[in-house]
Protein backbone atom coordinates (compact mmCIF):
# COMPACT_ATOMS: atom_id res chain seq x y z
CA UNK A 1 0.00 0.00 0.00
CA UNK A 2 0.98 3.64 -0.17
CA UNK A 3 0.63 6.93 1.68
CA UNK A 4 0.51 10.35 0.06
CA UNK A 5 1.19 13.52 2.01
CA UNK A 6 0.86 16.96 0.52
CA UNK A 7 0.99 20.62 1.31
CA UNK A 8 4.67 21.29 1.88
CA UNK A 9 6.13 24.12 -0.11
CA UNK A 10 9.69 24.35 -1.30
CA UNK A 11 10.97 27.35 -3.28
CA UNK A 12 7.47 28.03 -4.57
CA UNK A 13 7.09 24.41 -5.62
CA UNK A 14 4.34 22.15 -4.34
CA UNK A 15 5.77 19.07 -2.64
CA UNK A 16 3.95 15.74 -2.53
CA UNK A 17 5.56 12.85 -0.69
CA UNK A 18 4.76 9.25 -1.54
CA UNK A 19 5.55 6.35 0.75
CA UNK A 20 5.20 2.60 0.22
CA UNK A 21 4.47 0.51 -2.86
CA UNK A 22 2.68 1.36 -6.09
CA UNK A 23 1.62 -1.79 -7.90
CA UNK A 24 -1.42 -3.13 -9.71
CA UNK A 25 -3.32 -3.26 -6.41
CA UNK A 26 -2.53 0.20 -5.08
CA UNK A 27 -2.31 2.02 -8.44
CA UNK A 28 -6.01 2.97 -8.77
CA UNK A 29 -6.00 4.61 -5.32
CA UNK A 30 -2.68 6.29 -6.02
CA UNK A 31 -3.99 7.71 -9.28
CA UNK A 32 -7.11 9.10 -7.64
CA UNK A 33 -5.19 10.62 -4.71
CA UNK A 34 -2.48 12.13 -6.88
CA UNK A 35 -4.87 13.67 -9.41
CA UNK A 36 -6.91 15.08 -6.53
CA UNK A 37 -3.76 16.52 -4.96
CA UNK A 38 -2.67 18.37 -8.09
CA UNK A 39 -6.08 19.52 -9.30
CA UNK A 40 -5.79 23.07 -7.94
CA UNK A 41 -2.03 23.42 -8.02
CA UNK A 42 -0.66 26.11 -10.33
CA UNK A 43 3.04 25.68 -9.70
CA UNK A 44 5.79 23.12 -10.26
CA UNK A 45 5.21 19.86 -8.44
CA UNK A 46 7.90 17.92 -6.61
CA UNK A 47 7.10 14.27 -6.00
CA UNK A 48 9.32 13.21 -3.14
CA UNK A 49 10.03 9.51 -3.68
CA UNK A 50 12.49 9.05 -0.78
CA UNK A 51 10.15 6.51 0.83
CA UNK A 52 8.76 4.98 -2.34
CA UNK A 53 9.98 1.39 -2.09
CA UNK A 54 8.38 -0.04 -5.22
CA UNK A 55 6.70 1.14 -8.40
CA UNK A 56 5.65 -0.82 -11.48
CA UNK A 57 4.82 0.12 -15.07
CA UNK A 58 1.27 1.00 -14.09
CA UNK A 59 2.56 3.49 -11.52
CA UNK A 60 4.96 4.95 -14.07
CA UNK A 61 2.04 5.34 -16.49
CA UNK A 62 0.16 7.31 -13.85
CA UNK A 63 3.14 9.61 -13.37
CA UNK A 64 3.30 10.21 -17.13
CA UNK A 65 -0.37 11.18 -17.09
CA UNK A 66 0.23 13.60 -14.24
CA UNK A 67 3.26 15.06 -16.03
CA UNK A 68 1.13 15.74 -19.13
CA UNK A 69 -1.52 17.46 -17.03
CA UNK A 70 1.04 19.56 -15.15
CA UNK A 71 2.73 20.60 -18.40
CA UNK A 72 -0.61 21.63 -19.89
CA UNK A 73 -0.71 24.26 -17.16
CA UNK A 74 2.80 25.41 -18.11
CA UNK A 75 4.43 23.83 -15.06
CA UNK A 76 6.81 20.94 -14.49
CA UNK A 77 7.02 17.84 -12.34
CA UNK A 78 10.17 16.87 -10.51
CA UNK A 79 10.94 13.41 -9.14
CA UNK A 80 12.95 13.86 -5.96
CA UNK A 81 15.28 11.31 -4.37
CA UNK A 82 14.12 8.11 -6.05
CA UNK A 83 15.74 4.98 -4.63
CA UNK A 84 18.12 3.15 -6.93
CA UNK A 85 15.55 0.48 -7.80
CA UNK A 86 12.97 3.12 -8.73
CA UNK A 87 15.50 5.22 -10.61
CA UNK A 88 16.52 2.16 -12.60
CA UNK A 89 12.95 1.82 -13.90
CA UNK A 90 12.92 5.46 -15.00
CA UNK A 91 16.15 4.79 -16.89
CA UNK A 92 14.98 1.56 -18.52
CA UNK A 93 11.75 3.12 -19.75
CA UNK A 94 13.44 6.34 -20.90
CA UNK A 95 11.34 8.36 -18.48
CA UNK A 96 14.48 9.82 -16.92
CA UNK A 97 14.51 12.08 -20.00
CA UNK A 98 10.87 13.11 -19.64
CA UNK A 99 11.02 13.94 -15.93
CA UNK A 100 13.41 16.16 -14.05
CA UNK A 101 15.02 13.92 -11.43
CA UNK A 102 16.72 15.65 -8.53
CA UNK A 103 18.74 14.47 -5.56
CA UNK A 104 18.76 16.69 -2.48
Amino acid sequence: MFELSTGNSDNNRYVISVKGEIDIYSAPGFKESLYQSISDVGQDIVLDCSDLTYIDSMGLGILVGVLKRVKEKGNNMIIRNPRSTVRKLFRITGLDKAFVIEEV
Binding site: D23, I24, Y25, Y54, D56, S57, L89, I92, T93
Partner: protein, 126 residues
Protein backbone atom coordinates in the same frame (compact mmCIF):
# COMPACT_ATOMS: atom_id res chain seq x y z
CA UNK B 1 23.66 -33.12 -14.85
CA UNK B 2 22.30 -29.97 -13.24
CA UNK B 3 20.39 -30.26 -10.02
CA UNK B 4 17.11 -28.35 -10.03
CA UNK B 5 14.65 -27.55 -7.31
CA UNK B 6 11.21 -26.33 -8.25
CA UNK B 7 8.95 -24.27 -6.03
CA UNK B 8 5.39 -23.84 -7.24
CA UNK B 9 3.06 -21.05 -6.23
CA UNK B 10 -0.60 -20.73 -7.09
CA UNK B 11 -2.28 -17.40 -6.35
CA UNK B 12 -5.81 -16.15 -6.92
CA UNK B 13 -6.24 -13.99 -10.04
CA UNK B 14 -6.48 -10.86 -7.89
CA UNK B 15 -4.26 -7.77 -7.73
CA UNK B 16 -3.87 -8.01 -3.95
CA UNK B 17 -1.97 -11.30 -4.26
CA UNK B 18 0.76 -9.98 -6.57
CA UNK B 19 2.66 -8.72 -3.52
CA UNK B 20 2.57 -12.28 -2.12
CA UNK B 21 4.21 -13.52 -5.32
CA UNK B 22 6.87 -10.80 -4.95
CA UNK B 23 7.57 -11.87 -1.37
CA UNK B 24 7.84 -15.49 -2.43
CA UNK B 25 10.18 -14.59 -5.28
CA UNK B 26 12.30 -12.65 -2.82
CA UNK B 27 12.72 -15.66 -0.54
CA UNK B 28 13.44 -18.12 -3.33
CA UNK B 29 15.93 -15.93 -5.20
CA UNK B 30 17.71 -15.10 -1.95
CA UNK B 31 17.99 -18.83 -1.25
CA UNK B 32 19.31 -19.31 -4.79
CA UNK B 33 22.17 -16.92 -4.10
CA UNK B 34 21.20 -13.73 -5.94
CA UNK B 35 22.32 -10.36 -4.60
CA UNK B 36 19.81 -7.84 -3.31
CA UNK B 37 19.70 -5.71 -6.48
CA UNK B 38 19.07 -8.73 -8.68
CA UNK B 39 16.41 -9.99 -6.30
CA UNK B 40 14.64 -6.64 -6.73
CA UNK B 41 14.95 -6.94 -10.52
CA UNK B 42 13.38 -10.40 -10.51
CA UNK B 43 10.55 -9.24 -8.24
CA UNK B 44 9.81 -6.33 -10.56
CA UNK B 45 9.82 -8.51 -13.69
CA UNK B 46 7.56 -11.12 -12.11
CA UNK B 47 5.20 -8.46 -10.86
CA UNK B 48 4.97 -6.91 -14.33
CA UNK B 49 3.96 -10.23 -15.91
CA UNK B 50 1.40 -10.99 -13.22
CA UNK B 51 0.01 -7.48 -13.44
CA UNK B 52 -0.46 -7.76 -17.20
CA UNK B 53 -2.21 -11.13 -16.86
CA UNK B 54 -4.62 -9.78 -14.24
CA UNK B 55 -5.24 -6.62 -16.29
CA UNK B 56 -6.47 -8.71 -19.22
CA UNK B 57 -9.26 -10.08 -17.02
CA UNK B 58 -8.87 -13.76 -17.92
CA UNK B 59 -11.62 -16.28 -17.32
CA UNK B 60 -9.53 -18.49 -15.02
CA UNK B 61 -9.36 -17.66 -11.33
CA UNK B 62 -5.76 -18.65 -10.51
CA UNK B 63 -2.23 -18.11 -11.73
CA UNK B 64 0.42 -20.82 -11.46
CA UNK B 65 4.07 -19.86 -11.10
CA UNK B 66 6.99 -22.30 -11.08
CA UNK B 67 10.35 -21.14 -9.75
CA UNK B 68 12.93 -23.54 -11.14
CA UNK B 69 16.20 -23.10 -9.25
CA UNK B 70 19.17 -24.26 -11.29
CA UNK B 71 22.86 -24.33 -10.51
CA UNK B 72 23.49 -21.28 -12.73
CA UNK B 73 20.35 -19.24 -12.00
CA UNK B 74 16.59 -19.34 -11.94
CA UNK B 75 13.85 -19.94 -14.48
CA UNK B 76 10.37 -18.64 -13.70
CA UNK B 77 7.48 -20.16 -15.63
CA UNK B 78 4.11 -18.44 -15.45
CA UNK B 79 0.99 -20.01 -16.88
CA UNK B 80 -1.01 -17.71 -19.13
CA UNK B 81 -4.75 -18.35 -19.30
CA UNK B 82 -5.92 -19.72 -22.67
CA UNK B 83 -8.07 -16.74 -23.55
CA UNK B 84 -5.20 -14.23 -23.52
CA UNK B 85 -3.63 -14.19 -27.00
CA UNK B 86 -0.95 -11.60 -26.28
CA UNK B 87 0.03 -10.02 -22.99
CA UNK B 88 1.75 -7.00 -24.49
CA UNK B 89 -0.50 -5.98 -27.35
CA UNK B 90 -1.44 -2.50 -26.17
CA UNK B 91 0.57 0.69 -26.39
CA UNK B 92 0.33 0.93 -22.59
CA UNK B 93 2.14 -2.39 -22.25
CA UNK B 94 5.39 -1.12 -23.74
CA UNK B 95 6.77 0.04 -20.37
CA UNK B 96 6.13 -3.39 -18.88
CA UNK B 97 7.78 -5.19 -21.77
CA UNK B 98 10.79 -2.87 -21.72
CA UNK B 99 11.19 -3.42 -17.98
CA UNK B 100 10.97 -7.20 -18.19
CA UNK B 101 13.36 -7.47 -21.14
CA UNK B 102 15.87 -5.18 -19.43
CA UNK B 103 15.82 -6.83 -16.03
CA UNK B 104 15.80 -10.49 -17.06
CA UNK B 105 18.39 -12.31 -19.16
CA UNK B 106 15.75 -14.16 -21.18
CA UNK B 107 12.02 -13.77 -21.63
CA UNK B 108 9.91 -15.83 -23.98
CA UNK B 109 6.20 -16.35 -24.45
CA UNK B 110 5.55 -19.95 -25.52
CA UNK B 111 2.06 -19.68 -26.92
CA UNK B 112 1.51 -23.39 -27.61
CA UNK B 113 2.15 -24.17 -23.95
CA UNK B 114 0.50 -20.98 -22.64
CA UNK B 115 3.60 -20.10 -20.65
CA UNK B 116 5.81 -17.10 -20.18
CA UNK B 117 9.28 -18.15 -19.17
CA UNK B 118 11.91 -15.81 -17.76
CA UNK B 119 15.51 -16.62 -16.90
CA UNK B 120 18.00 -14.86 -14.67
CA UNK B 121 21.54 -16.12 -14.44
CA UNK B 122 23.62 -15.85 -11.29
CA UNK B 123 26.29 -13.17 -11.40
CA UNK B 124 24.73 -11.05 -14.17
CA UNK B 125 23.31 -7.95 -12.49
CA UNK B 126 21.81 -5.18 -14.69
Amino acid sequence: MKQTDTVSLCIPMKAEYVSIARLTASGITSRAGFDIDTIEDIKVALSEVLGKIIEKKPLTDRINIDFVCQSDGIRININIPDNIPDLFDNEDDKFALAIIRSLMDEMEMIKQEHIITMVKKLGKAV
